[in-house]
Symmetry: C2
Subunit: 208 residues, 2 copies
């Protein structure tokens, strides 16, 4: 057996400004990578048509969600338009223990909270190739006013000052290149001495 297979999984947190393309990168990664699964969020909002419990979200009541907060069962949580959203810790830890990597796509505020509750995570910041390209992408979506887009761009500049909290940053100019970079990060993290050496050494010594 390859000694690496004995090792548990890693949590990869993908974050970055809206329009950087973290969602697309995430989907591609999940399609193309073995032993990598998406973290499923918990929410108090009602299920929409087609959403499946445990796959789209874990749907729950407000009281139960607040109980999870009190018990420290969430890696992070936030309230948006009166609904709670959060990342339940137990399903993530269960996958990691089973040797499955977990990917979590989340905004910067959420990512920084996850870093506090799970500092062993690998934090990756996804960036657009330039501010003008980001403006173009946001405009292209056609879902926001010019004013809202300028607000988002200002927000992005502010977020950049937190980039030092992350381990890696990946510029998403050409999608395939960005996906390849994130994949390389996943492979490299599994080769880190701090992550893998202890069991490796034990296996050699046992054999000798």
């Amino acid at each position: 057996m390859d000694p690496r297979e004995k090792h548990p999984g890693k949590l990869f947190v993908l974050s970055g400004p809206s329009g950087a393309g973290k969602g697309t990168i995430c989907r591609k990664l999940l399609e193309e990578t073995e032993k990598l699964e998406l973290s499923v969020s918990m929410t108090t909002r009602s299920p929409r048509h087609g959403e499946v419990e445990g796959i789209s979200y874990f749907f729950t009541e407000k009281e139960e969600f607040e109980e999870h907060i009190r018990c420290g069962n969430l890696l992070e949580h936030a309230q948006v338009y009166g609904n709670y959203y959060g990342t339940p810790k137990a399903p993530v830890l269960k996958k990691l223990a089973a040797g499955i990597d977990v990917i979590l796509e989340i905004d910067m505020q959420g990512a920084l909270k996850v870093k506090e509750s799970y500092p062993d995570g690998v934090f990756i910041f996804i960036l657009p190739p330039s501010m003008s390209e980001l403006r173009k992408r946001l405009t292209g979506r056609g879902t926001e006013t010019a004013e809202a887009i300028e607000l988002r761009l200002g927000e992005t500049l502010k977020e950049l000052s937190y980039i030092e909290k992350y381990d890696y940053c990946v510029v998403n100019g050409v999608l395939e290149e960005a996906v390849a970079r994130v994949k390389a990060i996943v492979v490299a993290e599994h080769s880190k001495v701090a992550f893998t050496a202890e069991e490796l050494i034990a296996s050699y010594k046992e054999e000798a």
Copy 2:
């Protein structure tokens, strides 16, 4: 221009026990990777037939070599059978500044010296999949006695206790997989926030 291209190269130090296959991995990497060059050693031994100055080695006299030691011009050096061998610092730094990654294949003692003189290097330990496989590979070479091979295996076990000094370890069971892992490490290292973020942020702010 991709902002990443403005960044200088990185020094990758490949090390590990004899028979782990670091030489083969190194050759493959150089063949398959752009902007990656091998570090050329300096030596006081005489050129052998077919060896080319500046490609095989930088050939030099004992007095000149000792002057380089005194002036701190070498990243590491050692004496083997009366001849000096060392890694000149200037050609490595020149390549790094030109945005070329440099790979240095070296034994563990040399690697640890390089880590002192150039801690920004990325230190990768190449391991055989098992002690029995290492014994098989060394025996297969047919160049050493059974006794010498057992000595080497004992040496390997001792070297393992220094593995924590390295950043990464890569098990060389299937050559292509090991090469892919080292390539992933090269890509990931270039995406590290500590390495790339400062200039990236500057480019966004300038544009905004």
